[in-house]
Subunit: 700 residues, 2 copies
């Protein structure tokens, strides 16, 4: 059932309907009628009367027959009682356009909580509040449940935007570009019907070929990740998250009352789900148009056809910089082209058919590239010279589209009035036409990104049968149960051991004698550390002594340390001094509602100065762990440079996955910091680990 | 005189005029007539007759009266003789539309060389060949000397594009956006009239307020740098260079026959000249529209006004990511706003006046931000709700524009037919209106970049009175005169000394005894190097011994080295072993026609793996040297991190400037490599230097 009643209601009521033209209560009725809604429309107004020729009922309870959707456009404090009445009436979903809920502070939040409670109790679905509504262009429905002005034609793009303003800009732009829309939704405060739920609805809707998503904040990012992952397997999801800068995030927060602390985590959710991410509305709209009409390319190899050089160069730069490749033409393709193009034509990639080329030359070039198995997609740069048969060329492009199984994207550079018919023939064929070479190139590159995701096997996270989850739970639950903010160093090492993450050998000790006994078992040289929760920055406070060579040095160091930290009744940790290796860091932070974001980077200046780190959301799969390692600018250092041997990247990838498993099993962990992890050609071992259950003061 | 006759001819001939409509020889006459050219038009065709009602002369020599410009549209091999005739006739400039010159290879290049020779000899100016032509919208001229289709209205934007295809796309786009153009030029092979010359022409043209430049390659990049620097001081120059990727550069080369090897140097030329650089035609066109109407902002502090939150957040992200700042509102501004806006309005930056805001609220917000001395520019996000007086709001925006001395950039999100009058009032006021928040934000950010350049004092390169140029010339001329590919190490150090660039003390030696004597003078420890030109990678071949502690070690090392390189009759170099310091690199490469590009970076992985280097074109001024140092991601390491002291960045900046002076004085130097330069808290000294006069095999 899902959201069918919301998007395809059999009857609609508008509670707060009005005869005053500049009100939302009038506008929604006008929009429903003008757009040709197929079902009955019931204005509801306590004064009764008539609105646009429709008899108004005094209450939703007086409306004759069943009502699937009720718009609510009355004062905020009256809304909860009204929703109760709707539930009583058997209304399936309410769209609450009224503002004055969570976004205005505590009082509004309490009203919104009432709405959620009613929804949970009665089963009625609440869309909004503080929202625009939905639109469904399906000719069998024609539901314009919205107060905006864009009048879409039926098509294959569905749009959901948290911000009504941005949703309207997207909707307006796609419509202005002459492209159809399937369904539209802007759910404002999103107290009940959520973006993930809408995504899943469109995943099942066959007429929706591409989904556009605009997000300012997510109440349940994990649910979004799961819904998006599911939908991305069958159709492209194009998305944009705003509030990327501190200034932008502040603006989000004052705007919607939502929380945007973990914005960067959402960009990683996009990647993990297979979403095609954008940072620009215009680019996202243009890409949606391409995705709506063209097949997904098999790969990223582009063949370009041009009849003038300059724009082709621009498109080439843009394609290459956005991850596409332009392979040389195969011998067979070159031969075919030489036989049919002008002798002066450039038989390379891009193919320059020359400005004087006619329909037969374009047909030959399209044929040759469509037949070339080394080409996955065709990019056409077509300037309309006044001295050739541009209409004939357009017909050849349309014919190629009809027989092609590869995507064709065109840049058509022309004077639109003089060449209207030429343009119309290309557009009618379905080939997406762009004004600018960069625009078309970026659209094709977006298709390439989606294609790469579609080729990526859906790999499950590795299972590690050697993991001793029970031992680890005991450790974590004991610490959390006792209200401790972190594990001790010794416990941290035990946690790593339980997850098979290699580390320096170590032992706890309470006295000089125990230290010596531990070191005798471990073998010299050793490291001595104070192991007290309150001393987080151990080395700054003399709590770490490295390179202890023998019993005498150890005894002196242990004595001094016990004295220095006597007030804390310290335990000590004696650990194997690891001999060399490259310092890397595996870290993680919990993100509310999502899980953990795992971080990887090289130690020292690489993290602290150059900020060269990579991230992934849990669970981290094997290909994702590899990608985290490859994503670093400093990655060549791991492979070995300047005469230094490389390190065991396989071992690092496995540790990332084991750490991911650890974090998933223990959601209480707020922060994990394996630092340094010393990587060598034969493996990697942790030299220190911190496990926090509550954020550090001043952090988060 | 310059290019006045070309852009404002008193009479025009078209040689190769034709009655066949689909020819360029017909099209140019049609364009001249349709555009309303004010002077006489003379078709020239050997058959005589009439063309579009104009009597055709059989030869340019038969044309009555003076002719300033002649289009030439005849077969390539006939062109040189025709240009001779034009010169004889006293024609000031020819526009050669005909192709088949340098771009087709040796034969065409020879024809083009003939054209250049005629131009030099007779003083006639040659525009092209293989080009479109020029356009001048000046109502006193109306010269459409071009075969394209765009019909511009008079305005303030002038456009020069090497590629006719790209020029037409730019011209078409600006015209389609309803904005006027001043002059247009696309000069194809550019054998005589060059882009720098056209730039200078527009620098002097008061009606041109902004210049757009599209470049594929530059014959004389230094001339371009000088012309652009001059013009950028008085008006914004917006430019784009294509062929950024290897694939794109190859396409340039096959397209125009031009050379694009040093494309990256040209991006640095843009920065040095103060050009506002773009990588996208659409963005460049949109920015030109903003520059053409708005004043240059005093700084980068933006105040934003919005009546809906979502698009404001998007604009905020985009502004901040592009270098603008959005300061908090001053107390006075906040007070003024609180007094006049709705109580629920958001009195922050962005100011959210709310969707229900009317003309008086917009006026109040505009007033407050225009009066705030902490705000340099205003960004307006205006969605047109159906329930407010949008026309009244538009009139307030127009009134604000009339009194404002700060730039105002607007994003107007609307349904263009329903709100046509509202839009028209804003557009007519001159406020640039964009559809998308990102577009407007990027335009304002481009204005901010230009403003930063305008604030930058035009600093002359430092003069260093201690430089001994004469001694250096002797060294360089002796080596170059002898046909040597490089300086010896000893000579390299002498060259540095002549330019006051500190280095390790050193001395040459031919024998063990001379080595010992040199080391005694320098003081131990020393470094011993073989100093033979052929041994460039000295250390790989045992030609360098570091850390020699005493006479015995030195004698043994010198003996072994003399033996190892005996075949090369080696000289040796004994040099002071520098004690520590951070390894940095100062390098330089010559760029044909430009001078040198100086490089700076940290040594080791920073250069080799992380490619973290900065560049500047000679001459390097003091602020440019500082910027080179600050531009590195690793720059904090120079300032001091992780308990390490910083290094003397002032000394590094001075060395960069002295190296720049050295390179300018000795254009024979192809490559300079001071590597490592050891930087300490007290200065920096070179430990090695290479000076090459010819490129390394396989390089360049």
């Amino acid at each position: 059932m899902g959201l069918d009643a919301l998007f395809s209601p059999r009857a609609v009521a508008v509670i707060g309907a009005s005869n005053r033209e500049l009100t939302i209560g009038y506008r929604i009725i006008e929009n429903l009628m003008d757009f040709g809604y197929v079902g009955p429309i019931h204005p509801v107004n306590p004064k009764g009367g008539e609105i646009r020729g429709l008899k108004a009922c005094r209450s939703i309870l007086e409306v004759p027959g069943e009502v699937d959707v009720a718009h609510i456009v009355i004062k905020n404090t009256f809304v909860p009682a009204c929703v109760e009445d709707c539930a009583k009436k058997g209304v399936k979903a309410v769209i609450i356009n009224t503002a004055g809920f969570q976004e205005i502070g505590a009082e509004g939040a309490a009203l919104e909580a009432e709405l959620v409670a009613i929804a949970r109790r009665t089963g009625i679905r609440v869309f909004g509040p503080n929202c625009q509504g939905v639109i469904n262009t399906d000719p069998a429905v024609r539901a314009y449940l919205n107060f905006t002005f864009t009048r879409p034609t039926p098509g294959h793009i569905s749009i959901v935007a948290q911000s009504g303003g941005v949703g309207e800009v997207i909707h307006q732009r796609i419509t202005e570009l002459g492209v159809g829309v399937r369904q539209y939704a802007s759910n404002g405060n999103a107290c009940d019907v959520s973006i993930p739920e809408i995504l899943r609805h469109w995943g099942r809707d066959e007429t929706t070929r591409v989904v556009i998503v605009h997000i300012e904040s997510l109440a349940d990012p994990r649910d979004f990740l799961e819904a998006a992952t599911e939908v991305c397997r069958t159709k492209p999801v194009l998305a944009m998250i705003v509030g990327r800068t501190a200034e932008g995030a502040r603006a989000v927060s004052s705007h919607t009352g939502g929380l945007m602390r973990q914005h960067t985590a959402i960009e990683r959710v996009f990647t993990k789900a297979g979403i095609v991410a954008f940072r620009n509305i215009e680019e996202m709209c243009q890409a949606a148009i391409g995705f709506a009409s063209e097949p997904v390319p098999a790969g990223n190899r582009v063949g370009m056809i041009a009849n003038t050089g300059g724009p082709a160069i621009i498109a080439t730069d843009e394609l290459i910089e956005n991850g596409m490749v332009m392979p040389p033409l195969s011998a067979a393709t070159a031969t075919a082209l030489r036989a049919k193009l002008y002798p002066e034509a450039s038989i390379h990639n891009p193919v320059d058919v020359l400005a004087t080329a006619g329909p037969e030359h374009f047909a030959a070039a399209l044929d040759a590239l469509l037949a070339d198995p080394g080409i996955d997609a065709i990019f056409l740069n077509f300037v309309t010279p006044f001295f050739v048969d541009t209409l004939g060329i357009a017909r050849e492009i349309a014919a190629a589209r009809a027989r092609a199984t590869k995507p064709i994207v065109a840049t058509v550079m022309t004077e639109k009035k003089g060449w209207a018919e030429t343009l119309e023939v290309i557009r009618a064929s379905g080939v997406p036409c762009y004004d600018m070479p960069e625009t078309g190139a970026r659209v094709l590159a977006a298709m390439g990104r989606h294609a790469a995701f579609r080729r990526r096997p859906a790999e499950a996270p590795a299972t590690f049968p050697d993991v001793d989850r029970t031992a680890a739970r005991v450790l974590v639950e004991a610490a959390v149960g006792a209200g401790r903010p972190s594990l001790s160093g010794k416990e941290g090492f035990r946690l790593l051991a339980a997850y098979g993450i290699p580390a320096a050998r170590c032992a706890g000790a309470g006295s000089v004698e125990e230290c010596v006994a531990a070191a005798d078992a471990i073998g010299y040289p050793v490291v001595l550390k104070v192991d007290v929760e309150a001393v987080l920055h151990k080395s700054d406070r003399g709590g770490v002594v490295l390179g202890i060579a023998d019993r005498d040095q150890l005894a002196r160091a242990a004595e001094a340390m016990l004295a220095r930290f006597a007030a804390a009744h310290p335990r000590l940790l004696v650990q194997e001094q690891l001999a060399g290796g490259l310092e890397v860091i595996v870290g993680a932070s919990a993100v509310e509602g999502l899980g953990h974001v795992v971080m990887f980077g090289l130690g020292g200046i690489h993290v602290e100065v150059l900020k060269d780190v990579s991230f992934e959301v849990t669970p981290v799969t094997a290909p994702e762990a590899d990608a985290m390692i490859r994503a670093l600018r400093s990655s060549p250092i791991l492979a070995g440079v300047r005469g230094q041997p490389g390190v065991d990247r396989g071992a690092l990838a496995e540790i990332l996955q084991r750490a991911s498993r650890l974090l998933e099993d223990h959601p209480e962990i707020r922060e994990l910091d394996i630092n340094p992890l010393l990587a060598t050609p034969d493996g990697a071992r942790a030299a220190d680990v911190r496990v926090l259950f509550s954020p550090e003061p001043g952090g988060d």
